[in-house]
Symmetry: C2
Subunit: 214 residues, 2 copies
């Protein structure tokens, strides 16, 4: 399964690229914005494609062409303003969904945010970000794709535990980025996750089992 | 027909309130954010309801209760940042759509922006605003409401001519806010406009006729 990682240069993206590389039956393709990033992935033997989420749907469809799945884990990041939140986290994500449809890549895994589907639980501090994630998820759900939406809690850089809690609605919590990447792999491994959306925080259940139980 | 005007204190909203007030069969209800604005409308005999687009869907549904139509002509304005664009122009609009569904108000007229449905024609300078309008429109189209989406060109404060050009796709142009308000009234007057979306600029066709010809 050729998996295009959108946001490959982010921390979840890097974990995922490494995981897919060492997993039988998977080949990661890192979508990156610069030659410099491409070189970095090239060193570790990961195939790359140059593209930008501010490009057109046609360009993004070319980038996705020939892949079997797309994982969207890109984000404009905390340093940029809400204008980039609109252009990347919302419109960039939806352009990627449209590109997937255009390229015939039906499997799409979205990394969203805990409780993005429930306005009343949006963190006041980063509400505009939640608005963007909310509508990107809605548009994906309304698409023709075989989607899975993973909504992780606060992201940590510490090593993963391999154990999570996954459910439609969870209280606030956090999770290691490494465990989010492992959950993405488990989702790709399990067709049971198609057309499912779930909150994800660290917990007691082994990741493959948590995805199986969705 | 009781028409709730969301964004009544804006310039199009004020034109529309006055037009509805003098039109047989229509009663404007101005949704305003402050007692001060309510007093202003009260002076001209326009009914008001206090509410805020940053409130909950439940609150907005109470505000819409008993109305026969909703006109959304609110905007966060050019002075605020893109965070308010996300909260008002996108999420505020969609909350109003959900409130209409909840309150059983099926007729909904959205004031959008010229070519909001075509990414390739978005003005680079205000692209984040177009993203917000684009997805608000999409969510309305995906709703159960009897919608009409009006996408006016550059808004002018000069008096209207009463003549417009209205079509699925138009080249850039401008239009007097007064003529946008008159077009909203013509749309409310004509069920032919239900589930239609169109660009609108000043032109040669009498407004009622332009709406009839959609």
């Amino acid at each position: 399964m050729k998996v295009l990682i959108v946001g490959a240069n982010g921390q979840i993206g890097k974990h995922l690229a490494a995981l897919l590389k060492e997993s039988q039956g998977y080949s990661p393709i890192a979508m990156v914005r610069s030659e410099e990033q491409a070189e970095e992935f090239g060193k570790s033997g990961v195939e790359t494609r140059l593209a930008n989420l501010e490009g057109t749907v046609t360009e993004l469809a070319q980038t996705a062409s020939g892949c079997d799945a797309i994982v969207f884990t890109a984000g404009s990041g905390g340093q940029t303003g809400a204008d980039k939140t609109l252009l990347i986290d919302l419109d960039g994500a939806v352009k990627m969904v449209e590109a997937a449809e255009k390229a015939g890549v039906v499997r799409f895994v979205m990394v969203s945010a805990l409780q993005a589907h429930n306005r009343e639980n949006w963190n006041e501090h980063i509400k505009p970000y939640y608005v963007a994630k909310h509508y990107a998820d809605k548009m994906l759900i309304n698409s023709s794709l075989h989607y899975t939406i993973i909504r992780p809690g606060g992201l940590l850089n510490e090593p993963g535990t391999g154990r999570v809690s996954a459910a439609e609605n969870l209280d606030r919590g956090s999770i290691a980025r490494e465990d989010v990447a492992k959950t993405i792999l488990a989702v790709l491994d399990n067709e049971n996750s198609i057309r499912q959306s779930f909150d994800l925080i660290s917990g007691d259940t082994e990741i493959a089992k948590a995805v199986q139980n969705l």
